[in-house]
């Protein structure tokens, strides 16, 4: 039941990305090309994707903040809303760089695996490899930090 529900929500999410135009890297890059506002060529339409999504999802989050258990019985675990640290800023900046280079973020990349095939698979494989590299880097950094503390 959990998997069936999650599968349907994944499918609906993917349809939304297609309908919205998020799976077309050319559209995404045209939206990100804010400097084109001076030439009148800027395409701001993708901003409506976020407006539509947040308008629908916000009431659900408002409900979730008052509930502890989901419909299927699992606990509702909302992420921490506070810590704004170097890690968050650096990670977000790197993600933005990659997104601006290719015009695809992880969701559309997965939809494109079903749609476009090989090149999308290559992108997703690189994405997973990047996650693994980050895990190793974070572990090394953690060890280095504790080492420094011991030395001091």
């Amino acid at each position: 039941m959990r998997s069936l529900a999650a599968g349907i929500f994944g499918f609906v999410f993917g349809l939304g990305l297609i309908v919205a135009g998020m799976t077309d890297p050319a559209r995404v890059l045209a939206f990100l090309a804010v400097a084109d506002i001076w030439t009148g060529a800027w395409d701001p339409t993708l901003a409506f994707v976020m407006i539509g999504a947040i308008t629908v999802a916000a009431p659900a989050f408002a409900i979730a903040r008052r509930k502890t258990v989901a419909v299927l019985g699992d606990p509702i675990a909302l992420p921490d809303r506070r810590p704004i640290d170097v890690r968050l800023l650096g990670g977000a900046a790197l993600f933005g760089l990659g997104w601006g280079l290719a015009g695809v973020c992880p969701g559309p990349a997965l939809v494109l695996v079903g749609n476009d095939g090989l090149s999308a698979l290559l992108f997703v494989a690189s994405l997973l490899a990047g996650g693994w590299i980050a895990d190793v880097l974070l572990a090394v950094l953690r060890r280095f930090r504790t080492g420094v503390h011991h030395a001091a």
């Binding site: 959990r2 499918f11 990100l32 999504a53 659900a60 299927l72 601006g100 290719a102 992880p106 690189s126």
Partner: protein, 134 residues
């Protein structure tokens, strides 16, 4: 503007899926996080199901002929790999992507996600500016 209605409707579908996963499964529709956990040992079946649903949507689009335009045709392969690596590293370190921070985080009125979204949108816009104009 052409495409505004589609963007709004697509966004509403995305919001519906995020709301459903939250209230029915109790989970955040953060795609980078779900994908990362799906490929680790001990992954939960729902994580695979969600990823499978996303891929199935692409397949359905392709089969029904309303497929997205040839997506990566314009992106050279080394750029694709480099971008994938950077997105993978960034989303892991920053704990989220457009879906987790941009949609779910903002819908949850999270200052942390608002800052992350502002940063990745700004850097993405800067990256596009540099590749197009410099």
């Amino acid at each position: 503007m052409a495409g505004s209605i589609e963007a709004l409707a697509g966004g509403a579908l995305i919001g519906t899926a995020a709301a459903g996963l939250l209230l029915v499964n109790g989970r955040i529709a953060g795609i980078s996080g779900i994908l990362a956990r799906a490929v680790r040992p001990g992954a939960a079946p729902w994580q695979w199901a969600f990823v499978g649903g996303l891929i199935a949507a692409g397949l359905a689009g392709r089969l029904s002929g309303i497929a997205a335009p040839p997506a990566f045709a314009l992106t050279p392969m080394p750029t694709l790999i480099a971008a994938g690596l950077i997105v993978g590293i960034g989303t892991r370190i920053g704990s989220g992507c457009t879906s987790g921070h941009g949609v779910c985080g903002l819908a949850n009125l999270s200052p942390r996600s608002a800052v992350a979204t502002l940063v990745f949108m700004t850097v993405a816009a800067a990256a596009v500016f540099v590749t197009r104009h410099l």
